[in-house]
């Protein structure tokens, strides 16, 4: 089954010193994205399957598919926990309903 990821539209993001810095306005957590994270972030359009994004990572950063997948899934899981990345087994066309933070 394919997996799709989408950036939250609620997130504030800015490039600074060559790195993407993003903040979850919900809990003001800050993230600095490295090169790999930036590619995942930019590719998270809700339409591109995660497998295609991982393939791009393998080519751009010369890493093995299993390493790229593990890194990507860890990264996506962390962002998803803060509500700033959405994950679905269907293409994501709209911002999913908000889950209240605990």
């Amino acid at each position: 089954m394919a997996t799709y990821i989408a950036r939250s539209k609620q997130v504030a993001a800015r490039m600074l010193g060559g790195e993407m810095m993003i903040m979850s306005p919900r809990d003001t957590t800050l993230f600095n994205l490295n090169d790999v994270g930036s590619v995942i972030w930019e590719s998270a359009d809700g339409q591109t399957p995660l497998d295609d994004i991982i393939e791009r990572l393998c080519v751009e950063f010369d890493v093995a598919p299993e390493v790229a997948r593990q890194d990507a899934e860890t990264f996506i899981h962390e962002l998803a926990e803060h509500g700033i990345m959405h994950v679905s087994d269907q293409p994501i066309t709209a911002e999913p309903p908000r889950q209240e933070s605990k």
């Binding site: 504030a12 800015r14 600074l16 903040m23 306005p25 919900r26 003001t28 600095n32």
Partner: protein
């Protein structure tokens, strides 16, 4: 029927005067005393002030000092509460009111919060920092309580004007006739810390922001842009539970760090540290 005179004072901080109205001559006098040179005597109703506040004075009562400030948007109006006051402000009309006892601390809190909201919409912010003007340029010294903001302010040489020892006021310089190289301007504020003295009512192009660290020598160190952004964000004053505005403040700080030199200032508590601030 009793006719009560209304007293009006424009408290002009950061170039954004707020016209404050009260029926109490005593409270008006207290405000005059508290805000000193920040009272804009040229301003009158329908004049410079885009914003106004009516003060509804209530008798002093027991205050729950630990009660946190709450700032939230309801039906387009800011509802601002703390143990010692309740205020509402409508950003569409620029008008609001404050219910408080006759003391200077409550209105001070309301003003800080309102200015933080005004600034969030235009790329500026309030930050826990001392600031001073020297040679026509402003310098900020940011740090938490105990970092040395008041100490550095006390050590300021005669040719440096202290803008504040506690809360600095930063705005983009878009409306300035002669923008600084950094594109930002620092304003004096009446928001004092341990110095217990209002700042000079001045503005100047912002030259640099220093992160204060007390050490065994006076030295300036470079700071990585991401570390700078995180450090400035930690010192920002922002109270509103509003995700859109929180995001705006984040962008403002990152834009600020991209343009204004941010350095670490290690210093010993003696006046020679000011030899580095030129």
């Amino acid at each position: 029927m009793t006719l009560t005179a209304t007293h009006e004072l424009a408290i002009d901080i950061g170039g954004m005067p707020i016209l404050v109205r009260t029926d109490s001559a005593e409270f008006a006098a207290l405000l005059e005393d508290r805000y000193g040179s920040f009272i804009n005597r040229a301003d009158r109703p329908g004049g410079l002030s885009r914003f106004s506040l009516d003060i509804d004075l209530i008798p002093p009562r027991t205050i729950l000092e630990d009660e946190d400030v709450s700032v939230r948007l309801e039906a387009g109006r800011w509802i601002i509460t703390r143990g010692d006051f309740r205020a509402e402000f409508d950003p569409r009309t620029g008008h609001g009111w404050v219910r408080q006892s006759p003391n200077p601390y409550s209105i001070d809190g309301v003003l800080r919060i309102l200015h933080s909201l005004f600034l969030a919409r235009e790329g500026g912010f309030l930050v826990h920092a001392a600031s001073a003007v020297r040679n026509g340029r402003a310098f900020l010294f940011a740090g938490v309580s105990g970092a040395g903001k008041t100490t550095l302010s006390r050590l300021a040489p005669p040719d440096a004007e202290v803008l504040t020892d506690e809360i600095s006021y930063v705005r983009p310089a878009v409306t300035e006739p002669r923008p600084s190289g950094s594109g930002y301007v620092a304003f004096g504020t009446p928001f004092a810390g341990e110095l217990a003295r209002i700042g000079a009512n001045l503005r100047a192009p912002l030259a640099a922001l220093y992160l204060l660290v007390q050490g065994s020598e006076n030295r300036i160190e470079p700071v990585d842009p991401n570390e700078a952004a995180r450090a400035v964000l930690r010192n920002i004053l922002f109270f509103a539970h509003d995700e859109e505005l929180v995001g705006e403040v984040f962008k403002s700080v990152v834009d600020f760090v991209a343009r204004v030199p941010v350095r670490r200032l290690l210093f010993t508590p003696d006046a020679r540290v000011w030899e580095l601030i030129v």
